[in-house]
Amino acid sequence: MSRAVAVTGTGKAARRRLGATELVWLALVGVTVIGAILVALDDQNLFSIANTRDVLSRSSLLGFVAIGQTLVILCRSLDLSVGYVMALSSLIAATTMNGDPARVPLAIVAVLLVSGAIGLCNGLIVTVLKVNPFIATLGVGLIIKGYLDTEYQGPAGDVPSSFQQFGFSRIGPIPVSTLVMLIVAVAGILFLRKTRTGYHMFAVGGSADVARLSGIRTGRVLVTAHVLCSIAAGLGGLLIAARFGTGSALVYNSGYDLESIAAVVLGGTLLMGGRGGIGGTIAGVLILAVLDTVFNILAVDPFFKDVLRGAIIVAAVAIYARRQIDRKASRVRFGGDGGSAPPDPVPDSPVPAGSTGGAR
């Protein structure tokens, strides 16, 4: 109300509310509590060791992919090729290992290199050829699919049992794979919070023009994000190989591309980039895993699961959006139309019609 507020703006910051990430974790708690009650009504315990393990192990694979996906989405890009990268990586891992424990390191290096190279392609197509990331990564995905379908007629390769431990063994109630995933997540969080490239990802996603004018080499940042995203998917492929004991092309049919995007958005990262983080994503992944476990315990019909998951994702994002509107910063005038069309279409600015007046 006072004009001091208008000029300094500090008043607004003072009544800053819960950050997006905290909200997502709260949502996770909410989902867990509701799930636990429903499970308890069925005379079971969601927090039993077995069920906890189940939640955690269900979260690891999606976790890897979603961590990577977070980075590209933060940069206002997206990656629809992750499913194919996972499939290819699992095959490379399994065929390189070929049952020989000594070849495990070689296989890991090979996977990281190949998946990184795919990320490089994705990134270069988006930045240099200026192809919309949706189409670019869909196209690269199709190219990988073509290779996989031609080259592999089914599972191939053999993962030595030592490496299978990555998929099956546990430390206490925590599966090793989940632990590794969490370590990667922490590394990712530090990367975003502590490195320049991490900072620049927020900038590139917030506004590529602003970033460029601030001296950031936006192309490089975006390419880095794509490379890291593909590498994360490659790690997912390694986990698949460990869990399957072999590599499998058909993983690409399991919908990890869209599911990882859903998890990221569920985790409070803006689909149009510039805001969010891996912390929220992990909560998003855990929400999906808890739902999965609860549905399984309650023996929910698999098709009803899809219905519920669809509805829950939309409802959650609607709730985040609600807060966005409340925080309406009415007339901020950012950036000109620098000609570089934003890769992601979803506009943010609130519609000046209807409900906005009441939202203040």
Binding site: R16, K194, V210, R360
Partner: protein
């Protein structure tokens, strides 16, 4: 850090700069030199090429011809980063901040301080705080999210960011376009300090007052060519305008057209209020121009938005031609005969990727589709009466200069034949020629009996155009002053706007 150079040292010399966009030459061999410790103004009409020249200096565009010399050495900035590293920093015409990031993160964007290869957020915040304290901006905290700042606050962050580079050359492209006089004062003080440090400042503005207040030398561009560079002290404002426009402008604010007279009250707000506003009483007659003056954030735009259904009055009544008006959406406002030329041309006024024609008929298409086909026939006439300069009505609006874009916005609203038109900062960022065209248009509309409510941060404009001036302070009407010749002066408006005695405040 910067060695204090003697005023005569030429830091930068741009000579014969050429630039074409897609075959259209926009700079024809422009020369410009900057000396340490000087403020060098760059003026010219909209589209004269000021921003382009500045962007070449900043490494955003590459010149097609000509040379840039820094300290006598040829340089070529292929990327903004290289310009920054060479000590050239820029406040661009468009906002260049990340709304979701903090002040400190924005200021240090692209060169975050590191320790052991990791970003040192503590040091970043501390350095930002020092920088802010140095400039006397203690009310800004480094951790504030830019989104929560007002437009002026954001502009200040931009400037702080440019300063933080330890630059020897700072170019500012219309830094005051979004600022009210009070904040302009703040900027003046910043610039004086920079001069003292020996920084060269390239300063673009359409406000002649600022040119004379601040600059040591002035370079005038016209149609991409250099007209003259002169010492500011040796040039009069008439001369300046003539060189810029190519003709003398006799009277800047046109007189009322004969036959213009205040008619019945067309727009009336009684006791209007909402979260930002309280007790707004306002009356605008047909044929009358009423100005809303006030400081940044005093609630002027808010009144326009509440009237127009973007926001709402939760209290009070609004009448249009005597009939109650409760617009809940812009659509209802338009139907009732209201038009709003918004202060943010690109963000709220235009669909930039569409043609001039599509923009001009947008309101008709959206609100009055049945009338659209016949009303659109008037549009070519309106556009040509506004003297729009374009390459045809099929041209995309984003390729027009600011002034011409504003004309398209005006045409869009004139096509609806409004009864009441609200103009929010109608001349923001447009050149004198275009300004004059807008003023003439306002006079013409008045003569036709349209009621005009004008919001402006430029006091001369307020004083020169308005019949009455309503001054706002903190979302309330602070008082009303008569306009026109013999009416209020700048001091009395400022006194009402700030609630202080201006003289006292300034000295």
């Amino acid at each position: 850090m910067t060695e204090v150079a003697s005023p005569a040292t030429t830091l930068l010399r741009m000579s014969g700069i050429e630039k074409s966009f897609l075959g259209v030459r926009v700079l024809h061999g422009v020369d410009l030199d900057l000396r340490a410790g000087e403020v060098h103004a760059l003026i010219g009409e909209n589209g004269a090429g000021k921003s382009t020249l500045m962007k070449i200096l900043a490494g955003v565009y590459q010149a097609d011809g000509g040379t840039v010399q820094l300290d006598g050495v040829d340089v070529r900035f292929e990327h903004p980063l290289l310009a920054q590293q060479a000590g050239v920093s820029t406040v661009f015409q468009e906002f260049n901040l990340l709304p979701e990031r903090t002040v400190a993160e924005n200021v240090f964007l692209g060169r975050e301080p590191r320790r052991n290869r990791l970003v040192d957020a503590g040091r970043m915040n501390a350095e930002t705080a020092t920088l802010l304290a140095d400039l006397g901006l203690t009310w800004l905290t480094p951790e504030t999210r830019v989104r929560s700042l007002s437009v002026a606050g954001q502009q200040i962050v931009e400037i702080v960011k440019a300063l933080s580079y330890d630059a020897r050359i700072i170019s500012m492209d219309e830094p005051t376009a979004a600022l009210a006089d009070e904040e302009v004062e703040l900027l003046y003080r910043l610039i004086v300090r920079l001069k003292e440090r020996g920084v060269a400042i390239l300063y673009v503005s359409h406000r002649l007052k600022e040119i004379f207040d601040l600059s040591d030398r002035v370079t005038i561009l016209k149609d991409g060519a250099l007209v003259d560079t002169a010492a500011t002290a040796e040039i009069t404002s008439d001369e300046l305008v003539r060189k810029m426009v190519g003709r003398p402008i006799s009277s800047f604010f046109p007189d009322k057209l004969p036959g213009t007279e205040a008619g019945d009250v067309r727009l009336e707000i009684q006791g209007g209020g909402n979260e930002q506003l309280d007790g707004i009483d306002l009356r605008v007659r047909g044929g009358e121009i009423v100005a809303l003056a006030g400081l940044q954030g005093s609630g002027r735009t808010e009144i326009a938005h509440a009237l127009f259904g973007v926001d709402r009055f939760t209290r009070g009544t609004v009448r249009l031609d005597g009939r109650p008006l409760t617009a809940r959406t812009p659509r209802q406002a338009v139907r009732a005969g209201l038009a709003l030329v918004t202060e943010d041309r690109k963000g709220e006024g235009l669909v930039l990727n569409q043609s001039i024609a599509a923009n001009a008929r947008l309101v008709l298409d959206a609100v009055l589709p049945r009338r659209a086909s016949q009303s659109t026939r008037r549009i070519p006439g309106i556009l040509s009466s506004l003297e729009l300069v374009s390459q045809g009505s099929g041209q995309e609006v984003r390729f027009l200069s600011g002034g011409n874009q504003q004309k398209v916005v005006l045409a869009k609203w004139l096509a609806t034949e409004p009864k009441v038109i609200v103009l929010d900062e109608p001349t923001r960022g447009i050149d004198v020629g275009a300004k004059e065209r807008v003023y003439t248009l306002m006079r013409e509309l008045s003569a036709q009996g349209v009621a005009i409510l004008m919001i402006s941060s430029e006091l001369p404009e307020v004083l020169g155009m308005a019949d009455r001036i309503v001054v706002l302070r903190d979302g309330r009407v602070a008082g009303e002053l008569p306009g026109g010749p013999g009416g209020a002066d700048e001091e009395s408006v400022m006194a009402l706007a700030t609630g202080h005695d201006v003289e006292e405040e300034q000295r």
